[in-house]
């Protein structure tokens, strides 16, 4: 059925609204990219890109501030946290999905109950604990508490439940150990969930501010959010440099998202729509 004139006009209005919303969504980021390429005089003189491009903001960012160090810290801490999270959560999620064992119900109930409690409640006692075991102002003090992801366990349990039991039986008949089953069968089958989980975990750890702000003291251990906040404090008016730092800070997440996009959107909405 071909749309009539009225319907066509309606569609035009919808597309116009969508275009405006798209412009609103991407303009700040476009401005951010443009701002990092302008000198201080051009920054507000030209709305977006100036005729004279310069990498000066980036040069100053790396020479006046240990930005590279913060970037490396963030990559190391986030990478380690996500790998530990992924390994522990998928292993435990597998056990909770495919085995019957004593205490299983109690463990799941306990985890579910703690999921409802917001992270700010545990900040103080966690700080006390980290202080007692001497991990204040250390990478481990960020990685170890960050590796506990109850959310991840349930995510993996949910997706591994759908792996057919026959597949696991067949492997057992072939003499596969239980760990081999996890490693060679369950993990490859869960690939989409792994993609979604990695992105969610990466974003959580990468953007984390409050906890690192509490336990990190020395600049050489700062992560990007903490480092950038310090940068803003030190160089309030040097917008070009601040924007360069901001852009480089968000770039890794954007790259990872583009790589894992499909899995992510599927994983994000799977639970919500079914539930």
């Amino acid at each position: 059925m071909r749309p009539n004139a009225l319907q066509l006009a309606g569609r035009g209005v919808v597309y116009l609204a969508l275009a405006l919303a798209t412009a609103a969504a991407i303009t700040p980021v476009l401005w951010l990219v443009a701002a990092t390429t302008k000198g201080p005089d051009d920054l507000f003189h030209y709305t977006f890109f100036a005729p004279r491009l310069t990498a000066d903001s980036y040069r100053r960012l790396f020479t006046t501030f240990p930005f590279l160090r913060c970037l490396m810290n963030s990559l190391f801490i986030t990478g380690t946290t996500v790998i530990v999270q992924l390994f522990f959560s998928s292993l435990a999620g597998f056990a909770l999905a495919k085995y019957e064992f004593r205490g299983k119900k109690q463990v799941m109930l306990l985890m579910l109950a703690t999921m409802m409690i917001p992270g700010q409640v545990v900040m103080a006692p966690l700080y006390e604990l980290i202080y007692r075991i001497g991990l204040v102002d250390s990478y481990l003090g960020l990685i170890i508490p960050g590796a506990v992801s109850v959310f991840g366990i349930f995510l993996f349990r949910q997706s591994i439940l759908q792996v057919p039991d026959e597949l696991l039986h067949a492997a057992r008949i072939d003499g596969c150990s239980e760990f081999r089953i996890y490693w060679d069968i369950v993990m490859p089958v869960s690939k989409p969930m792994i993609g979604a989980f990695c992105l969610i975990g990466f974003m959580g750890s990468w953007n984390n501010f409050l906890w690192p702000q509490i336990i990190l003291h020395h600049q050489e251990r700062f992560t990007l959010p903490i480092g950038l906040n310090r940068l803003v404090d030190l160089y309030q008016q040097q917008y070009g440099m601040l924007m360069a730092g901001t852009l480089l800070s968000v770039l890794p997440v954007v790259i990872l998202f583009l790589a894992l996009q499909r899995e992510f959107v599927a994983g994000l909405t799977a639970g919500a729509v079914k539930g």
């Binding site: 401005w31 507000f44 604990l129 109850v150 150990s177 760990f179 953007n207 409050l210 729509v273």
Partner: protein, 318 residues
Amino acid sequence: MSARSDALAEKRELAGEGVGAGWFRLQHKAAPYLFVAPFLILFLCFGLWPILKSLILAVYATNGPKSAVFVGLANFRFLMADPDFHTAVRNTLVFTCWSIFFQLPCALGLALLLCARWVRARELFRLAFFSPNLLGQVFVGVLFSVLFVPQYGLLNHLLHALFGIALDTKWLSNPALVMPALVLTSLWMYVGFNMIYFLAALQAVDRDLYEAATVDGANGWHQFFAVTLPSIKPVAVFVLITSTLGSFQLFELPYIMLRNTAGPDNSGLTVVMYLYNTGFITGDLGYASAVGWTLALGMLVVSLVQLKLTRAMKGVGD
């Protein structure tokens, strides 16, 4: 399942299939415990223990992690009487209301625009709307603090051109404008994220229901209230509760945009910022726990009320 594998291992053992048979059965029995153990140990130490400990800490006054004095409910009494806490609660609630009554309808509106069958490049639009959510609150805070700069900032120029607002509007140093600035920034950040949920729900609505409604002579508005809303209700309730809980925990955005302060006249002070300032800047971990539990209780009560209210509203749609 495990019984079958046990029987299998036994059969192998009886058949004398080498020395590995006993080991095979053992590793099968032990596997689930070994698989759960690493996570469980971490969880007990760094998840459960701090929660229990915070209940105890909440009735102590501490000076850093080293000294603690029992004070009973004094932390909570002080909290309830502290005008700064009242301001924090008020700001947090106002922000939450904006999220619920302004941002969520916008998200639903965008999803409705996108869900029509004939819309082309839907994936691209969805990606564009969602993309701001990739930026963490700290980075968005830094970016928007520059976009909001008086005189020169992009936002003032845009709003000046569109609505004629003054170019030197000081968003972040005028107490009356701090909240609008926060609301706008979080709208930009989260509207696409919530839209994704609404869109997924809208696309899952049974098409036959619409056809039946059309046959019955229902117009667009009728269809929306009689078919669309009831169908997406479970997802809508989920989005409502998660975005309320998220709003209750607002911290980084104002903290960064207001340059690590609570803003002029505490206009950007939120409950979590209050917790951070009173608990960690001053080093009173007991007080921080008390504020944390008050926040947790508030979140619980509000979610329960929302669940009750949305359940009660069921009758309207049916």
